[in-house]
């Protein structure tokens, strides 16, 4: 039996990616989550972070939010903010970092602050 499964990333305006893969790491709301073949059916949502898809070579996508469903060896990621990390340039990232920093202090609830702080962290990680 092969150890591959399909991963799909779909945004409201297009299908960003559909391919076979052996492992995907997603930034689920309660922490990083690695998904392999034959995972049990799962529904969860994302916090800001990086989706890593391991096939031949690695692919990384930056996301801010999204919903994930895994069933029948099919991983479905619905998000409106996925961006290929390879296509992000420095100035774009710095822009986003500045906005995220300003945003962090403006949040009122714990949950919002949690999300905002992860966003900032991830962006800083990319920029290095």
């Amino acid at each position: 039996m092969s150890d591959k499964f399909t991963v799909e990333i779909i945004s409201p305006d297009q299908t960003i990616l559909k391919q076979e893969t052996s492992e995907v790491v997603i930034p689920s709301f309660e922490g990083q989550m690695g998904i392999l073949n034959n995972h049990i059916p799962l529904i969860t949502f994302l916090r800001p972070g990086i989706i890593t898809i391991k096939a031949e070579g690695e692919k990384k996508y930056y996301v801010e939010e999204g919903t994930v469903e895994f069933s029948n060896n099919n991983l479905l990621i619905l998000t409106s903010t996925a961006k290929d990390v390879a296509n992000l340039d420095k100035s774009q990232i710095n822009d986003l970092i500045q906005k995220a920093e300003a945003n962090l202090n403006a949040q009122s609830t714990d949950k919002e602050r949690y999300v905002a702080s992860y966003k900032l962290e991830t962006l800083k990680e990319i920029s290095q």
């Binding site: 945004s11 305006d13 299908t15 709301f29 799962l42 479905l76």
Partner: protein
């Protein structure tokens, strides 16, 4: 009988109108391809979203405590109608078809003595609806200056709907838009988005998984349902954009053809009256010569 000069002027004006309609048809055809593509690309997202929600709904054991966005307030008194139309005219029956359907529904809702609130999207629809139902319109959106519709616009409308819902302004929400079937057929549709309609989906999907939820399913639903509203609005906007261009293309094609027919008819009239005046002059000359 109009004079020769008048006919000439009319032919010229019809011809230049024909040029305009022809150009508009070409532009609509080009835009249609793009709009159709994005409508088709957008379909998977909303379908999959519906699927996930359906799967979540199945696993809810206690409908009493389920989120209100999903099951409704349990009442049926106040309605919110969102009418999605275009910002530009000259697209055949596109705007009027949506408004006609919406107005039939308004009449029914008011006839049952229920409360009605209207949100219009697109200036053309607002113009048509405010004549009769102006006092019910609580908000209007217009994306005239936007070239392409993106998810942000839909999100704006979605958030407005949800904030109204949280203020208990309505029990049921219906959106009106044109569904793009093909270039010549667009079907005006009324879709209820709050509470979510899950009946017809249930029959199509029998598979039953027991999902693992992280965090709890309530929390996921709370996060997902507002997104679903925006997604449904977005889908409607995309379908509408494609329908608008399709409808405009057909309308302009007809207009061009009609203008062509009119030019032919006017040219025949013109030639006839020119011939008549020549014959008249000849007769005058001949009879003048004979009398000498």
């Amino acid at each position: 009988m109009p004079s020769l000069d008048d006919l000439k002027k009319r032919i010229k004006s019809v011809k230049s109108t024909q040029k305009i309609t022809k150009a508009m048809k070409m532009v609509a055809a080009a835009k249609l391809r793009k709009a159709q593509e994005s409508a088709e690309k957008g379909r998977p997202y909303s379908q999959k979203m519906q699927n996930i929600i359906l799967n979540l709904t199945k696993s809810i054991n206690d409908p009493q405590n389920a989120p209100k966005l999903l099951v409704g307030t349990g009442e049926d008194k106040k309605y919110l109608c969102v009418v999605l139309t275009a910002d530009r005219g000259l697209c055949g029956g596109f705007n009027s078809n949506i408004c006609k359907l919406a107005k039939t529904n308004f009449k029914k809702i008011l006839g049952e003595r229920k409360e009605l609130n209207i949100i219009t999207v697109g200036s053309k629809g607002h113009d048509q609806i405010k004549r009769e139902y102006g006092k019910y319109v609580i908000k209007k959106f217009s994306f005239k200056d936007k070239k392409n519709i993106s998810f942000n616009e839909a999100d704006e409308i979605g958030k407005e709907i949800i904030s109204l819902f949280n203020q208990n302004k309505f029990d049921k929400c219906i959106i009106f838009y044109n569904n793009f079937k093909n270039v010549i057929t667009q079907i005006p549709q009324a879709q209820q988005i709050i509470p979510a309609e899950t009946k017809n989906l249930k029959e199509s999907n029998d598979e039953n998984f027991s999902y693992e939820f992280e965090p709890e399913e309530d929390e996921i639903l709370e996060d997902l349902l507002p997104k679903n509203i925006s997604t449904q609005v977005f889908k409607a906007l995309l379908e509408n954009a494609a329908s608008e261009q399709g409808s405009r293309m057909t309308a302009m094609d007809n207009a061009t053809r009609n203008a062509g027919d009119l030019v032919d008819k006017l040219t025949i009239d013109y030639n006839r009256s020119r011939q008549a005046s020549i014959t008249k002059e000849l007769i005058e000359i001949i009879s003048g010569a004979e009398s000498l």
